[in-house]
Symmetry: none
Subunit: 288 residues, 2 copies
C-alpha cells in the first residue's frame, strides 16, 4: 500500500501523460477523490475516454491496477478524515457568516485556488504556444453564459496579434465562420453548463475540418471535449447562487493573454502602440 498521496502523484506525472490521460487527471483532481472511488467505467465516462485508457493511466502512475488505486484513495481519505482538524471541517455546517459581498468574494477566492490545480499546466503552455503563433488564425466562440468570455479573449488578443475573430452567434451564423476553417486555425470554445448543442456542434465541425479545438469548460466537461485537442478546466464553485462563477474562467483567460503577450514580446507591444494611436481615447489618471 503506497505511502504517498495519489493527488500529488498525479500532479507530478501530469507532464508524462497523454491527452486523454490528462483529461482523467483533471477530472480526478476536480472531484478529488470521489471521481476515483466510482467504478472504472464511470470514471472513464466522466472524462469522456475509454475504460482501457483508465487502466493505462493507473499503470502510468505506478499502481498495480484499478483496485489498488481505489485502495490508496480510500486509505488516504480515511487518514484525512480522522485528522482532528478536517474532522471539524466536515462536521461544521454551512456557515453563512454575513454579507453577500464577503461571502461571494470568499467563495471566489476558494474557487480560484481550486482552479489552479484543475488546469493542466502542460495544456496551458501548449495552448499559449498555439495562440502565440502568428501564422494561425484564432476564432473565439462561447455559449450563452460564456459568450462574454469569448468576447473578452478576442478583444484582448486582438490587441496583441492579428488574425483574431469573434464568432458571435447573436450576430451571425457560426457556420459562416466555420466553412473556411483549415488545418492551421484554432477554435477556442468556452462552454459552461448548461452546455449548448450549437456550441458543441461548432467544435465538432471545426475538429472535422482539421482545426485545433481548445475547450475551456467546467469540471463536468462540456461534451465538446470530445472534439477538443486541449481542455482547460476551471472551478465554478458557488455557495449562494444557482449560477456558476466565471471568476476562474476570467483568470484563466487573462493568464492565457499574459502568456501570449510574454511570448510575442516586442512585436505585440508595437501592435498595441499602433492600436492605441488609431483609437486615441481619453486618458485620465496616472496609474503605476
Amino acid at each position: 500500500m503506497p505511502e504517498f498521496l495519489v493527488g500529488e502523484l498525479v500532479r507530478q506525472r501530469m507532464g508524462a501523460l497523454s491527452a486523454s490521460e490528462r483529461r482523467l487527471a483533471q477530472v480526478l483532481l476536480a472531484f478529488y477523490p470521489v471521481a476515483g472511488l466510482e467504478n472504472l467505467t464511470r470514471f472513464a465516462e466522466r472524462a469522456g475516454v475509454s475504460p482501457a485508457t483508465v487502466t493505462r493511466f493507473i499503470t502510468k502512475l505506478g499502481l498495480r491496477g484499478y483496485p489498488e488505486f481505489q485502495d490508496s484513495l480510500r486509505q488516504e481519505l480515511q487518514e484525512r478524515l480522522s485528522s482532528p482538524l478536517t474532522r471539524y471541517e466536515l462536521t461544521a455546517t454551512a456557515d453563512s457568516s454575513g454579507s453577500t459581498l464577503h461571502d461571494a468574494f470568499a467563495t471566489h477566492e476558494h474557487s480560484l485556488r481550486a482552479s489552479v490545480d484543475m488546469v493542466s499546466e502542460h495544456d496551458f503552455d501548449a495552448v499559449v504556444d498555439l495562440l502565440a503563433d502568428p501564422r494561425r488564425r484564432v476564432l473565439s466562440l462561447g455559449g450563452r453564459v460564456s459568450a462574454f468570455l469569448a468576447r473578452y479573449l478576442a478583444s484582448q488578443l486582438h490587441l496583441i496579434r492579428p488574425g483574431v475573430e469573434l464568432i458571435d452567434p447573436e450576430r451571425s451564423n457560426p457556420a459562416d465562420h466555420l466553412v473556411d476553417l483549415g488545418r492551421r486555425d484554432i477554435l477556442v470554445v468556452f462552454d459552461y453548463r448548461r452546455y449548448q448543442s450549437d456550441t458543441i456542434n461548432s467544435a465538432k465541425v471545426a475538429a472535422g475540418r482539421g482545426s485545433t479545438v481548445v475547450l475551456v469548460t467546467d469540471p463536468w466537461l462540456s461534451p465538446a471535449a470530445a472534439s477538443a485537442r486541449f481542455v482547460l478546466v476551471t472551478g465554478v464553485q458557488t455557495t449562494v447562487t444557482p449560477f456558476d462563477s466565471m471568476v476562474s474562467a476570467v483568470a484563466l483567460t487573462e493568464a492565457l493573454i499574459a502568456g501570449v503577450l510574454a511570448r510575442l514580446g516586442e512585436t505585440a507591444h508595437a501592435r498595441m502602440r499602433r492600436m492605441d494611436e488609431l483609437r486615441g481615447g481619453v486618458v485620465y489618471g496616472d496609474g503605476p
Copy 2:
C-alpha cells in the same frame, strides 16, 4: 438518489436492526464513510459478518442495493468536500511559482482580496436594492475593455428580472438608448482604464436626465464618477501584464447578481424556470 444523509439514516434505524446488522452499522459509523466505499465483501469482513447480511442491512435502510448505497455515500462525500472551507484544506499545496499560470492566479487572488476592502459595503447594498427594484429599468454599458462586463451583467440580470437592457456601442448608438431615460431608470457603467470619452459622456447624459448612475471602475476612478450616484471600486493588480485584471470586477458583478437574486427570491426563480423552458439547451452531466 436519496436526499438524506446515510449516516443519519443508519442511526435512526439502529433500533430496528439485528445483532449482525448493528455491527455493520457500527463499523460504518466508526469509519464513515470509507468503510462503505469498499466492496461488499470487505465491508462484511470488517464487521465479521457474511456478505448476505450486508445486502439485508442495506435493504433495511430502504436502499435498493449495495451500488445505490455507495452512490449515496459518494454523493454525500462530494458535497461535504466541496464546501469552500474544506476545499481549501484539502487542496492547499506547495505553491511553486515560476510558471505564468501560477503567477497569474496568485496575482488574481491578491487582487480579489484587496478588492473586498475597496468596495463600500454600504454602496454595494444600496446598489443591490436598486437593481432588485422591478419598477426600475436597468441599462448596462461598458467601455472598450469593460464591455464584456456590461454584457455579463445584462445577460445574467436579464435571467432574473425584466427590464434589463444592454447598450452596445458596437451595434447601436448609445444615444438611442439614452434619449428616453427617466428618473426611475438605472444606468450601470463599467469603465476601466483607459477611460473612454463616449462612456463618460453617456454617464453625464443619464445623470442629467435624472437617472441613477452606478459606476464600476478601478481605483483611479473613471471621470464618469462625477456623474455617478454610487461608485464601486475593484482592484486590478497585475504584475506581469500591461493589462489590468478584470477578475475582481467579475467577482463584484457576480456578487451583485447574487445579491439581487437573494432579494427577489421566488419571483426570480420562477422567471429563471420560464426562461429555461423557452430556451431548452442540451444538458449533459449532473452537477452537485
